[in-house]
């Protein structure tokens, strides 16, 4: 019986073949843009509902609107998990005409956050300073966390572009205190989310939501159970859930296909000389492609991640079968 040969084969796969198979398995779903719908958990749905509540509230009393705050607390190295979360939240807010304010909690996130804010704002024809604003680097953390307790303009006296926030931006007139923020979201790969829970929620009982990398997700579960967190997106899975909810909403709101909608957005639009927009009001082909692709990033990542997971679990099972065969072969000899 060639038990020996089988066990030898099962136990000694060459590394390069393991890697080659892994490479092929993971890359195909990404190349073919296979998206993996995922079941929606309570903690992500509660964020979505909270943003919808803000939309209802703003519709009922247009005078006393609530805004959404996004704190970009992640560095490009955790982009894979955090980027789709921020895209989905920005899209949800802009789709529902909810004013968005943001800043960066980590230095590496400053420029990256701004580029994301402007790119997504471009998809919804939003004006900087009226519909959304980016306040640059929120440092030191403690002062930033307490700033919204009184008037954030004391702390963030200038925005990212260096202009005074007191008199240049109408959005800052209406939204500078925790009472005017419907939801405060920290998207991070670090433990900054716990800081926001302790200060924003702890001191000023501001509704706080968190979008964290998979590694940090379990650390925040106690805050979910205790109600200190409104909701939480954990890793690519959390991003995929929120992403698919926002895509459903977008299809309902924008009847047309996204690509035509975007290309038609700035068809006959001449920007005034002093262009308030921080982006050029025209869509190049590449930008169109990128915007459309970026709506499915998390779910594509999910498919690849699930396949990789089951591939490695299979590898482990095969190795142990080989080991058992080897043991039986040796015991029989």
């Amino acid at each position: 019986m060639n038990l020996k040969k089988i066990s030898e084969f099962l136990l000694n796969f060459k590394k390069k073949y393991i890697y080659l198979v892994m490479f092929v398995l993971i890359s195909t779903p990404l190349i073919l843009k296979v998206t993996q719908e995922t079941y929606e958990t309570k903690e992500v749905k509660s964020i979505y509902q909270r943003v919808e509540e803000i939309y209802q509230h703003n519709k009922e009393n247009p005078e006393d609107k609530l805004a959404l705050f996004i704190s970009v607390d992640f560095a490009p190295s955790t982009k894979a998990e955090c980027d789709p979360m921020m895209n989905a939240m920005l899209r949800h807010a802009f789709l529902r005409d909810i004013p968005v304010l943001g800043w960066a909690g980590v230095p590496q996130g400053i420029d990256y956050g701004l580029e994301r804010f402007n790119t997504i704002a471009k998809e919804y024809n939003k004006k900087y300073g009226e519909d959304y604003i980016y306040l640059g680097y929120a440092y030191p953390f403690l002062q930033a966390a307490l700033a919204f307790g009184t008037d954030v303009r004391i702390f963030a006296s200038t925005d990212y572009y260096g202009k005074d926030t007191y008199d240049n931006y109408p959005i800052m007139e209406k939204f500078n205190n925790y009472n005017q923020l419907g939801l405060f979201t920290s998207i991070t790969g670090t433990s900054l989310a716990e800081g926001w829970i302790q200060y924003a929620n702890g001191l000023f009982n501001q509704d706080v939501a968190a979008g964290v990398t998979a590694v940090n997700a379990s650390r925040l579960y106690p805050f979910l159970q205790s109600g200190q967190l409104v909701g939480m997106m954990g890793g690519l899975k959390g991003a995929a859930e929120y992403e698919q909810m926002v895509e459903r909403l977008e299809k309902k709101e924008i009847k047309k296909d996204i690509k035509n909608y975007l290309s038609g957005l700035y068809k006959n639009y001449e920007a005034p000389e002093e262009n308030p927009r921080k982006y050029d009001t025209s869509y190049t082909k590449t930008e169109l492609l990128k915007s459309v692709n970026s709506r499915k990033m998390a779910r594509q990542g999910m498919a690849a991640q699930k396949i990789a997971h089951f591939y490695v679990i299979a590898l482990i099972i095969i190795a142990n079968i080989g080991y058992l065969l080897k043991k039986r072969y040796e015991s029989r000899r």
Partner: protein
Amino acid sequence: MGLLAWTTIGVILTIAIFSFLIKDNPLYKFAEHLFVGVSVGYLLVVTFTQLFIPRVYQPTKNAFNSGDVFMSIWMIVGIIIGILFLTRLTEKHNWLSRYPISITVGFYSGFAIMPSLYTRVLRQLGATVSEDGVSMINFQKIGLFFKNPSWANLYEATYGPLIVIGVLTVLIYFFFSFKNTNPVIKYTRKPAMVYMMVGFGAAFGYTFMARISLYVDRMNFIINEWWPLVRVNLF
């Protein structure tokens, strides 16, 4: 050079690094040596602009301008000691570099004693005894479990004692100068090993998912950032 050219360079370097998985090859050697050069160049720039100028040159200039004699002397001595490190370039005088080494090694060793004792040893031992006021071995919780046994109550009742046993047995496992015949050592070796293996196996499996998403991000760079540029510009 256009965005397409630069992104293509990024993609070529990405594939060069991935090619190492199959076999070491000239493309990987090129990328590796370029990466070494870029990292050393970057360190030079960061050290000069963010360490030497603001933390060495500027204070010295201010000390001289403001006529602060003590500070000027202190900075000059500091710079001379720093230069002593360069004596390593010579064969004969490289023992002079021991002075900057001893100062740095000595200072940082001394600097590490209090924090390591305070944060790593005493505070962690304290956390093993009681967590924010509630003792880890909590008889009310154990009583509660027996009143109405449920999974949640079982967890509440057992997690404190299990952590205490785990910490103590693993700590005892790392005694170095006691023989195995010592009963305390003998009977805690196996439970400590069980804790360690379960703990390490879980930690390994846990970070697995995060590593995969790193790779997903690289493929996104190629498929969603580079490929749209190519398709638009070339076809």
